[in-house]
Symmetry: none
Subunit: 340 residues, 2 copies
Amino acid sequence: MNALPAGSVDMIFADPPYNLQLQGDLHRPNNSKVDAVDDAWDKFDDLGAYDRFTHEWLSAARRVLKDDGTIWVIGSYHNIFRVGSKLQDLGFWVLNDVIWRKTNPMPNFRGRRFTNAHETMLWCSKSKDSQNTFNYEAMKTLNDDLQMRSDWLIPICSGSERIKGDDGRKGHPTQKPEALLHRVIVAATKPGDVVLDPFFGSGTTGAVAKRLGRHWIGLERDKGYIKLALERIAKVQKAETEMLTIQAKREEPRIPFGWLVERGLLQPGAVLESFNRRWTAKVRSDGTLISAEHRGSIHQVGAAVQGAPACNGWQFWCVPKDGVLVPIDHYRQLLRAELH
Amino acid sequence: MNALPAGSVDMIFADPPYNLQLQGDLHRPNNSKVDAVDDAWDKFDDLGAYDRFTHEWLSAARRVLKDDGTIWVIGSYHNIFRVGSKLQDLGFWVLNDVIWRKTNPMPNFRGRRFTNAHETMLWCSKSKDSQNTFNYEAMKTLNDDLQMRSDWLIPICSGSERIKGDDGRKGHPTQKPEALLHRVIVAATKPGDVVLDPFFGSGTTGAVAKRLGRHWIGLERDKGYIKLALERIAKVQKAETEMLTIQAKREEPRIPFGWLVERGLLQPGAVLESFNRRWTAKVRSDGTLISAEHRGSIHQVGAAVQGAPACNGWQFWCVPKDGVLVPIDHYRQLLRAELH
DNA sequence: AGTAATTTTGAATCGAAAA
DNA sequence: TTTTTCGATTCAAAATTAC
């Protein structure tokens, strides 16, 4: 980080080692062994060593961050209090602590504590008086026209999104879900901004930044991780510029359409067709649509192209799939089931 | 706190000043003024002063806490990182960080941040190796037979629960909901335990502790708050004792397997089958099992035949009876009932 | 080939009593 | 104080195998 020019970065997303301090092995009730995070990079001699490490990288981060930039740091109860205190000590100003609530956390197999079902993110500006970016309207749109809260419900990264190594096993032990980074980046940056991730790992930050038309810088010392990340990001397509500019307001159903984009069920720039194939529209990153002549919510654009007073966009718009049209409501139901 | 005997308290619930550092007045969009927390007790000169205050009261708390007791501290992003770091520095061992998600938080009127919709609680034991109370089954029952997670959805305190002062205005600016304390106390204490709240305020901890049959100690320096709290607690009725006792499975008296043979519930030489019918073993007169290749306790042989690191023999081994497999745990329960 | 059942897995600080 | 034994304990979702 010290090789980068001072004040050159708009946003930092950092996922530092958590210093888990695991003791012995842990087995599930069915006797299978939990594949724990026991990598060398998560080992520190004691709290003091972790504090020094935190001080060093946060100081370096502060230097490269623009005065009006913001920093996000994610962690668990093992490390987040050390990080939070150090951020305050260095003069950062906490804007929010945001809770990532996991839909599918690992259970507590021994029944000795509450299921550890969340992680904490700290969002800070460089000082109390700096002017940070916050795309309030985009967040509100993404949350069914209600203010976005400080607790976010998002599944852990699994399935096809999880990067595999050459051996077919998980490529990185702590890969974060793209939906999480999507919301972070849409909330706190503008297209063209520079996003820095000093603990790049599997490159989730770079992949999402690229898709959303933000520049990215990733720092990583493990060559294996670098290779995986670069291959991954090479496959990502940047969404069209128009899809990335943010629009505001409007009514939407209980599952906001934007969530489908955020969760990767639909990509920014994806083309939707009306059920009768007469009209098409493209999906933008904030969950609005844009057609030849109109832009707005799925309902508004659906109504506008028909010249109708109203329209249920969930039934009107479809995804062309293998020659068949699948109503976007189908995806809403998938997500609704998932979020239960 | 220093007047209390050392090691005399089973649980501490602490709701210290948050050091909110509010700047000017805040108005809602309709121009009404938000009734902020601007009391003298929430004013500190700087972070250093807040840290010294935190160090002092946490040190005192540590002294009065039993070695196997636990402490809960609630806070927001303004202070929780200072508190969490200090807890760790003093040797406390974090068991969970629990998120209180508010169903009805105050909106962010300026639209500059995410709605601050949660507060954080830290639950710590006195050291890594201490044995704290956790009523796992009670929590699981309370959560529809799923493990209780670290994020709790509970409304803020309002309506008739909110204590009013003599002037009819709110009696205490940061009164916590009784539902929150209910879950904390049921989770981490037993009936008859002593609960200490060093920042008693409106006395929520005392009220809930009394109803749940726990003893309580409240420390408060504001005489107005003391008066309100005592009046409030006087109205509370302790629930019936039978409603408060919880019999956890792991606290039931132990029944050696040999007793089943001794009492004639199983005959020496009886053949047991594993629940999946893959293995068999014979019962010996001393209460050990013998299989084709292994001999030892029900647990040891169960583990050995599976090649597993451990096994609960009570659930693994069954008695074939009329074509059905009856777990030997059934006979243990019969004997347990008989022994009363 | 399609559906149902089974197995696998995820940032985890995950015992206590008796000998 | 240390070692051995007892025996309690999991949820959601994807991947794999069985039917």
